[in-house]
């Protein structure tokens, strides 16, 4: 039967697009989402990051891998930590990096996203690192830039934050070893609005994690999230029981406005990670948080600063992991152009 063509002729974005991040050799051209990537690519990112972790310990923390490359940090949404670690990672790879904060510049003057892109593209750079408040923004940009430009997603709406998830996987692997199959990982908090959680869930499942759980009140659990390969808990204590890893998510204060929650106080009383509650997890549990943390809202200070916390390690590892991703994306061999067989 005649049906939709296997390869849509539609040039506009959308179709086929989580493969737009791979080139014809199956290597990363863009880094937009973890969905659709294989465990080989993820493992290779983690292994490469290991080698850069050593560079970052040296007195001269610089390698010439991306010398002569120009990278643009294109942030349509405020960020300190992510932007800074990308900047450091680029500098340690010897690339030139430019920071552009768009929320205060062009688009607020009515310029369309596409126009902004075309202007930046005309400045002949090699990579855009993009953060935007719309889900799908990184895909849109990757689908509309010139072919020589790579795009790394530094967070798009509620959709994905793949470099954060990779540094989280790196942190887990450093602490718990290479076999994710025996791990129970609990993600606690505002799943509804979290791009970090979505990317973590993909990463954990691609790496064959034994048990991935999400814990939140019903108002903050997205519909059908089970389909992403997690089990859902509404109760913190039963959710984190015997967990090897507990990942806390930031609760934004504006959530009270949308009637997702009555108060920070009540949220903390039910879902705040306290020392006492953490005892339900395994003795050697690690506690993670993508930051910035809200002490006394989602996590007790003594837990955030305590022996189980690896929150600051995450920040450190973020540099190596981002170096790994940037070097893999920009350091590819030139694409082999396939010629059609005559037959």
């Amino acid at each position: 039967m005649v049906n939709k063509p296997a390869r849509p002729t539609d040039r506009l974005i959308g179709n086929d697009s989580w493969n737009i991040q791979l080139d014809s050799n199956g290597r990363l051209k863009h880094f937009l989402t973890l969905e659709g990537l294989g465990s080989e690519i993820l493992t290779s990112i983690l292994d490469t990051a290991e080698s850069f972790a050593n560079v970052n310990q040296q007195r001269v923390k610089k390698v010439p891998l991306l010398r002569g490359k120009t990278i643009v940090n294109l942030f349509f949404e405020a960020s300190t930590r992510t932007r800074t670690t990308f900047e450091l990672a680029a500098k340690r790879l010897s690339a030139d990096i430019l920071n552009i904060n768009i929320s205060t510049s062009a688009t607020s003057k009515g310029e369309s996203l596409l126009d902004t892109l075309q202007n930046l593209q005309a400045m002949l750079c090699d990579m855009f690192i993009v953060r935007h408040s719309d889900s799908g923004a990184a895909h849109f940009i990757a689908g509309n830039v010139a072919p020589h430009i790579s795009v790394i997603n530094a967070g798009d709406g509620r959709h994905a934050h793949p470099t954060q998830a990779m540094l989280d996987m790196f942190t887990i692997r450093r602490n718990k070893g290479h076999d994710f199959g025996k791990l129970r990982v609990a993600i606690v908090g505002d799943l509804m609005h979290s791009r970090v959680a979505r990317s973590q869930i993909h990463a954990l499942n691609i790496l064959n994690t034994g048990d991935v759980r999400v814990i939140a009140p019903k108002t903050l659990i997205p519909t059908d999230i089970e389909d992403m390969g997690v089990s859902v808990f509404n109760d913190l204590r039963s959710g984190i029981r015997d967990a090897d890893v507990v990942i806390m998510l930031r609760l934004q204060k504006e959530r009270m406005q949308g009637a997702f929650l009555p108060s920070e106080h009540e949220y903390y009383s039910l879902y705040g990670l306290t020392e006492e509650r953490l005892r339900a997890a395994k003795d050697d549990v690690i506690v993670m948080h993508p930051g910035p943390i809200n002490r006394g809202v989602e996590i007790e200070s003594s837990v955030a600063d305590g022996e189980h916390s690896v929150i600051l390690d995450q920040v450190t590892f973020g540099i190596s992991v981002r170096m790994a991703i940037m070097s893999m994306v920009l350091g590819r061999e030139p694409e082999h152009i396939e010629t059609e067989a005559i037959g």
């Binding site: 506009l12 959308g14 179709n15 935007h132 719309d134 889900s135 799908g136 997205p222 389909d227 992403m228």
Partner: protein, 425 residues
């Protein structure tokens, strides 16, 4: 006016459910005979319809022509031209133009522009409330006098249920059908995709099925109390269909339609971030799509419309949630309906009746039927012709379609409007 002969085609009559090889004789804008040549009839123009299907011209219950107010997207001339090429001879536009169709002058403007273009009959729905703001009643009697075939608040909310009740009662008083696009604003505001696994995975704000069903339930209660004649447009969910089915079983005089794209696309087609699939109500689950098809089959849904919403290219060039919803759909209305026939969802008669006689009955107009003395609004198509949709070949100024590259069978060859040939290909 000219005398026209449509010779030796296959007349497919959705009302009598018959096909016969025959000829249609047209004079002074009307069909004056079928089969037998009237005495003294001499055709000034003859269309050889051998091998072609002769059907009533299509009646589209919902097409936004973008005029007045959004002429940078499309206009009455461009869109009725596209309609004619697609076999559509009558289309009905909702009142959310700019200015809103809440006073006779706007209706007159639309009618005048349509008459000047002379590609298709254009009917208008009047606003249910002034400016569609949901606060004050529109002058429904005046709108009716100006030619509006019904009233609607489009997708704009009427927050106060008492005002909605009075608006329905007043519409009943004016003998105006209320056209409802069921949407509970507070449940859908900010959403851009079905609240399900795809929206969750892509991080898009969802619109729950309850946005549709809460609105239907509220409207049904008020229809019962006020006795207004009502039509529910653009159903999207299995549960919504179920509410309509039960209300019909209880004997309520209501009707319903679905847009053609809802019968072929579902949430998976958004995969990933395809802005051409950004529509409201959103594309829902596979199960919902199957239920809509079943409702078309068993008559719970009375009509298929295009829900045509042409856009300029920029409107779809942005991250998904920031794009504008809607599909340029006039030119895929008949092709998709014929595909329902090929996929054995409905027999050909049923498919045509959903596009002709039934929507005409909902609008209460003299159209959608091939019979002597009826207006000669006719669509003649080649049922065998295979073609592939290329946006560049579309006549609508909006090329925003998710059906690019789809293969269709059946293409309009001639369209006759009021006895005049308005399209031939």
């Amino acid at each position: 006016m000219s005398r026209l002969l449509v010779a030796n085609g296959l007349i497919m009559d959705p009302v009598t459910q018959t096909v016969k090889s025959s000829s249609v004789y047209i004079a002074d804008g009307r069909i004056i005979a079928i089969d037998h040549q009237p005495d003294g009839f001499e055709a000034e123009q003859t269309i050889d319809a051998s091998g072609l299907i002769i059907s009533p011209g299509l009646v589209d219950l919902c097409a936004r022509l973008r005029e007045p107010g959004l002429e940078f997207k499309a206009d009455i001339n461009s869109e009725t031209r596209a309609a004619a090429s697609a076999g559509i001879t009558t289309l009905c536009c909702p009142p959310d133009t700019d200015p809103v169709i809440d006073e006779p002058a706007v209706v007159e403007l639309i009618h005048r522009k349509a008459a000047m273009a002379a590609h298709a009959n254009v009917l208008a729905l009047g606003a249910l409330t002034n400016g569609l703001k949901g606060q004050l009643l529109s002058e429904m009697h005046a709108l009716r006098e100006a030619g509006c075939v019904g009233v609607s608040n489009s997708r704009n909310p009427v927050a106060n249920t008492l005002i909605l009740r009075r608006a329905y009662a007043y519409a009943a008083n004016c003998e105006m059908t209320v056209f409802i696009e069921p949407d509970e604003h507070w449940l859908s505001a900010g959403g851009c995709a079905h609240d399900g696994p795809v929206a969750t995975r892509l991080g898009l704000q969802g619109i729950a099925v309850s946005a549709e069903t809460v609105a239907i339930s509220r409207a049904l209660e008020l229809i019962l109390e006020t006795g207004v004649k009502a039509h529910f447009g653009r159903l999207s969910s299995a549960h919504g269909v179920e509410l309509i089915r039960r209300a019909k079983e209880l004997g309520m005089k209501i009707s319903a339609d679905v847009s053609a794209h809802q019968l072929f696309l579902n949430e998976m087609d958004i995969n990933s971030f395809n802005s051409m699939c950004h529509v409201l109500p959103p594309l829902r689950s596979q199960r919902d799509m199957e239920a809509l098809r079943q409702a078309v089959r068993d008559g719970v849904i009375d009509a298929i419309c295009s829900d045509h919403q042409p856009h300029e290219p920029d409107a779809k060039q942005a991250p998904f949630a920031s794009t504008q919803p809607g599909i340029s759909a006039l030119e895929t209305l008949l092709p998709l309906a014929l595909r329902l026939v090929h996929e054995q969802v409905v027999p050909a008669y049923t498919a045509l009746s959903l596009l002709t006689s039934k929507p005409a009955a909902i609008l209460g107009i003299n159209a959608g039927v091939l019979a002597v003395n009826r207006p000669a609004d006719i669509c003649i198509y080649d049922p065998e012709q295979d073609w592939q949709l290329e946006p560049s070949a579309m006549l609508s100024r909006g090329r925003n379609t998710p059906f690019t590259g789809w293969n269709f069978q059946g293409k309009v060859r001639y369209t006759i409007l009021g006895g005049n040939l308005v399209h031939s290909a």
